[in-house]
Structure formats: C-alpha cells, structure tokens
C-alpha cells in the first residue's frame, strides 16, 4: 500500500511539471488559437535569465520575479515582431514558426550558457515528510500547490474578468472583436506575455529538479501537449487535472502492469488520450466547439 501511495504522490509531482507547461500552452491557445511548440523552450530561457540574475547576486525570489517580468515583455515582443505575421495565415506555417523559435532559443541558450547541467536552487527546503506512509518532499509539494494556485487563478481570469473575456473573444473571432472595439493587437501581446510569464514560473519551479540545460523541458513538452488535448484546450483546470492523471497513471501502469513495464509506460497517456477522445472529442473538460459551415 505504501508503494501505491508513493507512486500516486510522485505521479502528482511529475504531473505538476507537465501541467505547468500545459497551462502556458492553453494561455497562448486561448488568446491566439495556435499551439506554441516553443512554450517549454521559452520557460527554459526564463529559468536561465533567473540563473544569470542569481549569478549577479540577487536573492532567489527576486531573481525569479525579475525573470518573470522580463519574460512577460519578451513574450509580448515575440508575438508582435514574429508571430503577428503568421497569425492570419496557414496555421501549419505558424506552428512551424514556433518550432523554429524553439530551435533558435535552444541554440541561444546553448551558446550563452553551454550545454552543461547547471544547478538551480529551489525555493523550498530540501527535506521531505511522511504522508500516509509515503515520502513527500517539500519541493514536490511546493510545485504542486503553486501550479494548483495558478490553475485556479487562470480559470478565474478567463471566466470572470474582462481581460479574460477579451482574450477569449480575440482568439475566437479576431475580426468581430476588432469591430467591437477591442484592441486586438494589444490583447494578443498580453496573451503571449502572460504565457511567457507563466512559463518563467514553471521553469523556475522545475529547474532544481530537472537540472538546467537548454533541452530541459523537451521531454515534458510531449506530455504537456497530451495533457492539453486530454483536458480540453479551453480549460486551465482541465489540463492540469489531465496532467496529474497522466503522471499518476503512468507510474501505476509501469509498476502494476509488468507487460508495460517502465519502457512502454510512455504509451499509457496516449492510449488514455485515444480512448477519451473517441468518446469525448473535446477532451475531458473542454467545451464542444460548433463551427458554422
């Protein structure tokens, strides 16, 4: 029983990491309608900014906050200067542009900070405590709670605030939004900026555990995408729950289904995704979209 709980706890911790990136992807998706393959890469770059600020002597929390602010600006600039040109065209081209962005960011990080593994300090103490017979580290708990809090904040923002409504309107129908007087350009920039800021928080939370390298979040990106689709691309709560589910089920399948084992456990999220999508194409928590023919 102890093993089972431990696996669940660890799955939730890992799932929080996937969920963090998934939230950023949802944010961009909700405001611009596209999938940003570079989301993980941008989060890593933000973590490097924080690392550089730490090196200059700033205390950790301040370094992270400044990195978040820089990332917001950077995200907005990327939207305005790079993505704007492709938003109204073929979405496949836009996705490939984000792929190019990811490659570029990885290359820049590798050039400036090298490909070595850098140590990033954690905001939380390194100890762990026991819960129901399972060991939980403060770091995992802190990550889990932070992501949960951000998830709730995002959900509230989208559903209850004017900005959230405006962002969703712009993503849904840019032309009508423009006619209604919404500052479409500025809202797009805000959407990307927020996503980048969120990514910065995610990067800082995750870097102590995964060790800072340019490709730190490449593995997690695929899981994040799976979580986005499983949860429904329009729901912050949905994608985080999906991410947690993926993390937990993966662990359980690896240990309790010997046929799958640890090498094929990566199939679990996808099989789950497939089954859910057959029954509910909009994802677990997504809204059904109706398209005028």
């Amino acid at each position: 029983m102890g093993t089972f709980i431990q696996l669940v706890v660890d799955g939730l911790a890992m799932g929080s990491i996937y969920g963090a990136i998934a939230l950023a992807i949802v944010l961009v998706n909700q405001s611009t309608g596209m999938i940003n393959f570079a989301q993980g890469g941008m989060a890593v770059l933000s973590a490097y900014f924080a690392y550089a600020l730490l090196g200059m002597g700033l205390p950790l929390i301040l370094a992270i906050l400044v990195a978040v602010a820089i990332s917001f600006v950077l995200g907005a600039l990327i939207e305005r200067l790079l993505m704007r040109r492709f938003e109204s065209g073929d979405p496949d081209t836009a996705v490939v542009v984000t792929i190019g962005l990811l490659t570029l960011i990885t290359g820049i990080a590798g050039m400036v900070w090298s490909y070595n593994n850098l140590q990033f300090p954690s905001l939380f103490p390194p100890d762990s405590f026991s819960v129901l017979g399972a060991a939980v580290s403060w770091r995992s708990l802190g990550t889990f709670l932070t992501i949960a809090a951000i998830m709730v904040l995002l959900q509230l923002m989208f559903q209850k605030t004017k900005v959230g409504l405006a962002l969703r309107a712009v993503a849904d129908n840019p032309k009508s939004s423009a006619f209604s007087g919404l500052p479409v350009g500025r809202l797009l920039m805000i959407g990307w900026g927020l996503a980048a800021a969120l990514g910065a928080v995610a990067g800082a939370l995750v870097a102590p555990r995964l060790s800072l390298t340019p490709g730190m979040l490449d593995g997690a990106l695929v899981y994040a995408l799976a979580a986005v689709i499983l949860g429904g691309a329009s729901s912050p709560i949905g994608v985080v729950f999906a991410a947690w589910l993926i993390g937990v089920l993966e662990n359980l399948a690896a240990v309790y289904v010997p046929f799958i084992g640890h090498d094929l456990k990566i199939a679990v999220p996808f099989v789950l995704l497939f089954v859910v999508l057959l029954v509910r194409p909009q994802g677990l928590f997504g809204r059904k979209t109706v398209v005028r023919v």
Partner: protein, 424 residues
C-alpha cells in the same frame, strides 16, 4: 509564328549542346572509375600520403553531438582533444616531419544518419576520425570507414564491436567496454565476506545492458550475492521515481545504478534519501563526478558510493595540486573556449587522454599513411597518459580490448574518490 519557332529552335540547340557537353564531361568520371576516393598509393617509391596529412599539417575529424540532449558530454569529447593539441603544439612524427595538428569537429546531434553524412562529406579532407560519442552514431559509419579504409580511432563508446580487430580493422574503442566496468564492481562485491542483496537499475540500451551483463558475469557463482530486483529506464525519461520506489521496496542493501544521465542520477540519490533507503551505491565512471552529481545531491559518503574510473577527477580536492590536472585545466581554459572550459563530464578528461595517445601513435608512424597510422596505433603498450589514475594504463595491443581496459574501483570519501580495496 516566326518568333515562336525561332524560340523553339533556340531551345533545341541549347538542349543538344548541353547534352553533348555533359556526355563529354561525363566521360571524365567514368574514366576514373576505380581511381576516386582514397589515396592508397601503390606507386613504387615513397607511398602517396593519405588525405588530410601534409608535410607540416594533419587534420583530425570528430563527429559527435554538439547540440541536443547529449551535447554536454559531446562538447567535452572535443574540448579535451583540442586542449591537448593546443598545449602540445606541433608534434614530431616518427617520419621526421613536424606537423601542426588541427581538429575539425562536426555536429551530428546524435543522429546516425548525420554521423554518416559527416563522415562522407569530410573523409577526403581529414586524416582520421576520432573521439566521437555514441554507439549508434559510431556504428552508422563504421562499415563505410572500413570500406574506405579511414581510421575510426579511439572513439567514445564502450561497444565491444569496436575493439574486435577482425570485425573492425580500422577501428579502436577508447573507453573500457561497459562489461569490464560492471565486472570490476561485481568482483569487488563478490569478494565481500557478507551476504548482499542487489537492486539493479539500468539504462535501456547497450550501455546499461552492457554494465549489467558484466556485473552479473562477475558475481556468477558467488553465493553471497543475490539480485533481488532489476528495472530499466529510458534515457529520455524525466524521472525515475517509480523505479526507485519499487527498488527501495525490495529491501536491497546494494544499488547497482547503470545510469548515464546526470539529472536522473542526482534525482535518484535524492529520491532514495526521501524513501529512507540507504543502500551502498555503484555508479558508472561517466556519472559519478563529485562536483556534478554527488555534492549537489548531498550524497552521504557513509552509505558507500562506489565507482570505477581510470581518470583523475579535477574536482577532487585530492588532485588540487596535481601537475597533470593543473595543466589540463589551464589548457582547457586557453584552447577550448568554443566547446566548453568546465570539465563537468569525464569525457573532457578522456578526450585529453585520446590526444596524448594519438601523439604516441604519431610518434611511431614511419609513413604519412592511414595504414601506417593504424599499425602504430595498435602497437602502444604500458603508456600512462596524463590524468590517468595509478594502476591504469593504455594498451592497444590486445585484440578484443579497447585502449583502456583497466579500471580502478573507487569509493567516495565525502570530497573525492579514493581506491577501494574491498567492499565494506
């Protein structure tokens, strides 16, 4: 009508002209059939020099991952090499000529197809390929190298195929084969007087499996050693928590961790501590650095962290005053700025040793040909390269063994490593 027929005619003339020109030119390559690629000499008198070598210069090629997930160790495989030849300056060869050594690196991003491409595009400009990282990438161009008779010397893979002189006449591995490292620890453990239960975690590829194979063959027949659990993980995994949880529940007191990924090694040490599991550890040579892994993970030396090594670790305080290490760090700083100046991975030290070994081979060459180079390379014995630990040396004369066959089992003492005679 007139204009159109003129245009058509003009195009026709151009077409026929090109065809004739091409056919005539085409005969040039056809006539050379069989003459093309490598300079095998064969004239009487002085043998024609192989490509990539002149009277005052020689070019070495390295195809290795300089970007992507394995770029950390990949950059190190070039950094040490460049540092060595930078501080060595022009080298006097066995044929009396003094030559400047240039190292050209090519990024293959750990993609076998790109490694082959790098080989094909550059084999006529470089004298030999060396120091490349990775089994699939080295395997991808191994047969082409044999066919073209281009040396693939002292590569960074523990795959035994490269040290089999019959199968791979133009190749030689540098680092010990994985089986040897695993066996070294297995022997130490088997010689212990007490009973031990072993949990194994291995990387799911030839690297991890090789370690386990060597370990198991060394403990065969030892009644006091029992393997209670064996699990694998993928090099691309983000966490090994589930595996650690299972292994901790097995009640083993020895943990054989054949892992080559730095962040996962740190995570596994931390996870074991979280789970209150305190076995003795075994870590492979390339993932046991005190500075990069044990100290960040706050590893408790009391538990017993064992590793195998043949290179001095610069981060170890024991070697702080060591001449070799000081020279190595200075050379790295001065010459390897393009790649990396921090030896975070042992490949930096290893490629430095490759440089020294190559110098030995150059000194034994009597002709500027690739064939002569291979002959000289496979004739080095009892050579202690800089940075080698006492008790280890380079011997390239044994069929089936790479340049480094001997390793020393060491134990972490809180700051660095010291030799372990027995398991306690």
């Amino acid at each position: 009508m007139n204009m159109r027929s003129k245009a058509v005619k003009a195009m026709g003339i151009v077409a026929i002209g090109s065809v004739v020109a091409l056919t005539l030119a085409g005969c040039s390559r056809g006539g050379d059939a069989g003459g093309g690629d490598d300079g095998k000499g064969g004239d009487s008198g002085a043998p024609a020099a192989s490509p990539g070598i002149t009277d005052d210069a020689i070019t070495l090629g390295v195809t290795t991952p300089l970007s992507g997930a394995t770029a950390g160790p990949g950059n190190c495989t070039v950094a040490g090499l460049v540092a060595y030849f930078g501080q060595a300056g022009p080298i006097e060869f066995g044929d009396g000529k003094t030559r400047e050594v240039t190292v050209e690196a090519f990024d293959d991003a750990y993609d076998p197809q790109k490694a082959l491409s790098n080989f094909q595009q550059n084999q006529s400009n470089v004298f030999a390929f060396t120091s490349g990282l990775g089994t699939p990438t080295n395997r991808a161009y191994r047969e082409a190298a044999i066919e073209e008779e281009v040396p693939q010397a002292l590569v960074m893979t523990g795959d035994p195929l490269f040290s089999d002189r019959t199968e791979s006449p133009w190749q030689l591995g540098f680092v010990p084969i994985y089986q040897n490292e695993g066996a070294a620890f297995g022997e130490l453990l088997a010689s212990s007087e007490e009973d031990h239960k072993v949990a194994i975690l291995f990387q799911n590829d030839d690297y991890g499996k090789g370690y386990v194979e060597g370990f198991k063959s060394a403990i065969e027949g030892a009644d006091n050693i029992e393997v209670v659990k064996e699990l694998s993980y993928e090099a691309t995994d983000t966490a090994v928590d589930a595996q650690l949880t299972e292994l901790a529940a097995s009640g083993a007191d020895v943990f054989f961790n054949a892992m080559s990924i730095t962040p996962l090694a740190i995570a596994s040490i931390e996870k074991a501590r979280e789970l209150s599991w305190t076995p003795s550890w075994f870590l492979p040579s390339n993932t046991s650095s005190p500075g990069a892994i044990l100290t960040p993970a706050a590893a408790n030396a009391e538990d017993g962290f064992y590793s195998v090594s043949f290179a001095k670790a610069p981060q170890s305080p024991a070697f702080a005053e060591d001449e070799d290490v000081k020279g190595f760090l200075a050379a790295l700083e001065e010459f390897s700025g393009d790649y990396t100046t921090k030896p975070d991975f042992p490949h930096c030290m290893w490629s430095y040793m490759v440089g020294a070994t190559l110098e030995e081979a150059f000194k034994g060459m009597t002709e500027p040909t690739r064939e002569n180079f291979m002959k000289s390379l496979t004739d080095i014995s009892d050579f202690t390269a800089p940075l080698m630990l006492e008790g280890t040396s380079i011997d390239t004369t044994k069929d089936g063994q790479p340049a480094v066959a001997s390793v020393v089992v060491q134990r972490f003492n809180g700051k660095g490593y010291e030799n372990a005679e027995s398991f306690d």
